[in-house]
Symmetry: C2
């Protein structure tokens, strides 16, 4: 009998699951239907700021596979403008709202993948319902910002929140010759980095003309008719023809919750290592699904395309008789803010303390290439280790061209539970165009080994 796999959500997680399942099962064995409430499937959400900033010309290049590609090349019935509004696990069916004609229908499934993603957190403040305030998570969100810029030619923009998305959007808007202010509630942007590292990101933004207001909570929005026209902080009112919020995202778990599927402590859908939810034959992946953090051993909600893809692939194997597991995450992330490359992996000092670790940390300054080699650029590496044992709990780096991808070496060290002392002698590559003879990563390991023994945090 033909089995039916239904996927809710047509971006990275859902469509990875669908594609992987299709690779392993022919249409005669497994029917695959995917429902997406928006306009697009399988796109690079991470590419949105670059498209808005004009670094990437064409929105279509962000789309890996359209619904018609899925239908024609993969025999996956991907339907857009279809919102799944209810889930009946016992009855093995979902309710689908068709945004094109307003009708509702019921669709049966044998196995279900919940890949409903996440929604930007909106501030709940006076005026926050006004037009012109945008979160950026889906391609539809991005399209809305892009249209607003084209139609309104805004002169001023305020970005609220200095996380990755906020910073990338601040840069993007600034590239469109908009006068951009960034408002951050905390002492400095990029709070996923420790303060000493985040300060360097702040400087990079200022260097491209973004005005930063830190330690300033937003208290209200000024409006002009239905539209926003200003952002009121604890200190001042900033003109804002448009506002972009980068306040993080909330996993979309209403569908799962409504059906009695267990939600984890992080607020995302609880899953086991196979990406199965608490309900038999119901799976979850991507931004809506909780991840196991391998260093803190806690459930976390992290919205990243790379996890979504891997988790989707895991489900695609498991729904077709495989025994795949997703081993969790370690919080690796990387970003380019103007010319500055920023990376992090594992736990930062605050997270490590919260997780109960006794830590030591070091920061080292080095260069991306041999110091005498043209194009050699500064790089700063921070390493957080467990006191005494020297186990690497996390690392952060910031630098110019050539810095970012070094975080992967550190991620591999964290992933494998290496100590700083072990890392010192790890055989990584050296040649003058690519590294000093002691790679910055290894220099950090040397200093961290000393700090672990001494129990100090050397700055």
């Amino acid at each position: 009998m033909v089995q039916r796999l239904v996927v809710v959500g047509g971006d990275a997680a859902g469509m990875s699951a669908a594609s992987q399942a299709r690779r392993r099962r022919r249409p005669e064995e497994l029917e695959i239907v995917a429902f997406e409430r928006g306009n697009f499937t399988s796109y690079s959400a991470c590419g949105i700021p670059y498209w808005i900033g004009g670094v990437v010309d064409d929105m279509d290049t962000l789309i890996a596979r359209s619904p018609s590609t899925f239908r024609e090349r993969f025999n996956i019935d991907a339907r857009i403008h279809r919102e799944v509004t209810a889930l009946d696990i016992a009855g093995r069916k979902i309710t689908v709202h068709d945004h094109d004609n307003g009708r509702e229908s019921t669709e049966g499934f044998d196995q279900l993948v919940i890949a409903t993603g996440a929604t930007p957190i909106k501030p709940d403040l006076p005026g926050s319902g006004a037009e012109g305030i945008f979160g950026v998570q889906t391609l539809d969100d991005g399209l809305a910002v892009h249209r607003a810029i084209a139609e309104l030619s805004p002169r001023t923009a305020v970005v609220i929140g200095g996380g990755y998305i906020g910073l990338e959007m601040a840069e993007a808007l600034s590239r469109r010759s908009i006068d951009v202010s960034l408002v951050e509630r905390l002492e400095q942007p990029m709070s996923t980095l420790d303060p000493d590292m985040g300060a360097l990101v702040a400087q990079a933004l200022r260097d491209v003309g973004v005005t930063l207001f830190t330690a300033e909570p937003v208290v209200a929005f000024e409006t002009w008719g239905a539209r926003v026209r200003g952002v009121v902080t604890s200190e001042r009112t900033l003109d804002a023809d448009i506002v972009v919020t980068g306040l993080g995202v909330r996993p979309n778990v209403d569908l799962a919750k409504g059906a009695g599927v267990a939600i984890g402590t992080s607020g995302a859908i609880e899953v086991d290592h196979r990406m199965s939810t608490s309900a038999e034959g119901v799976w979850a992946a991507g931004d809506c699904a909780e991840k196991f953090h391998r260093v803190s051993s806690r459930g976390v909600a992290i919205a990243l395309g790379t996890h979504a893809n891997k988790e989707g692939r895991t489900i695609g194997m498991n729904v077709t008789g495989g025994e795949a597991t997703f081993p969790g995450v370690i919080g690796t992330a990387v970003s380019k803010i103007c010319d500055v490359e920023v990376g992090r992996t594992g736990l930062n000092e605050t997270e490590a303390s919260d997780a109960g670790f006794d830590t030591a940390s070091v920061i080292v300054d080095s260069t991306t290439r041999a110091v005498y080699f043209p194009g050699s650029a500064p790089i700063k590496v921070k390493m957080v280790v467990e006191a005494d044992s020297g186990r690497i709990l996390g690392a952060q780096l910031i630098g110019r061209e050539g810095a970012a991808k070094r975080i992967d070496t550190l991620a591999a060290a964290v992933w494998n539970g290496m100590t700083a002392d072990e890392l010192i002698n790890m055989d990584i590559s050296y040649a003058p165009p690519f590294a000093p003879v002691w790679d910055p990563v290894l220099i950090a390991a040397r200093k961290a080994t000393q700090a672990a023994v001494q129990g100090t945090s050397e700055q």
Copy 2:
């Protein structure tokens, strides 16, 4: 009583040992004397091709620390033009020949570091003693080539041997507007890569105008008086105003051998994990010392500055009461040939077979950045895994800007004994300016996982 540490050889390995020892012991506790037969201490030998090619302007920038810096800042008595000609282990003394005045003297030691480096292999062929034939290993070697170019303004050069040094020198000479031919005995250059990968390097060299002659052994040199003027291969005679050999190096072990210190199967000095030779209180590091290959479990002779530094540091700790170990190497190397970045780690297919592994391998094509991101460049990753287990034995990659340092992620995987299947889900970084959502490294792991099970070598 003041102890005396004597170091033979003033480059990376020896001076790392000296510097590390000094960090841990004051001059009142430990006297440190280093003897270098050449003109320079602590320089970047890897930087020589870039200086000869004019990429790096000033030779002095290649020198990290001069003898006077060692004396004045570190209280290390570094003496150049002093060749150590004999070692008496039982008597705890060495014989030193002073090249400045031709005199010999005897110096006592409590502990000795042998860091005598390696010498370029010279072909033993008719005419091979002629002037104008250069190997490039020390800075003095590099200086000789640089002077020859300045004084003779050569129009033609032949590079013999297509290893890293040969290729880098071919590019360097070509940058000096010299008409360069590269002659390689094997089917293609870069034999540390498998043939399918090495072919791409060959193309890069041709693209910058180097003429390649492969599968052509050199049989003789044509001379004009004392000077070389041509290279005779099995097929033809090539004009050569200068010749550079890149035929690998031979560890300098005569001093050690003469004193009865054990030599390993690789031809380099046998050492244990503490870098101790067979003689009590006599240590060896760098190009002259054998390394333990962690994947093949064999002794190997690999001449690389990064190992020399780490081994020297290990000795510096051990001669001052520490208990440091050097855990071995996995053959990681990286190079930039024109615009092409090349990296390798672990064992290639041939080496893996020689070491008794049953292997499978894959090659994947991907991009260095998200495919839609400006500057996205092709990258090719080859992964060699053990059949059945899927353990990653080695990897090779080749690509444009942004490719090379990815070898470190693969090196970390090999170092930690990861399987391809484990690597698939490792949490490495993703953002459009730095990687596609599936990093090329992870794509290779995906395909290798399949190949390991199927036992195939997919090309």
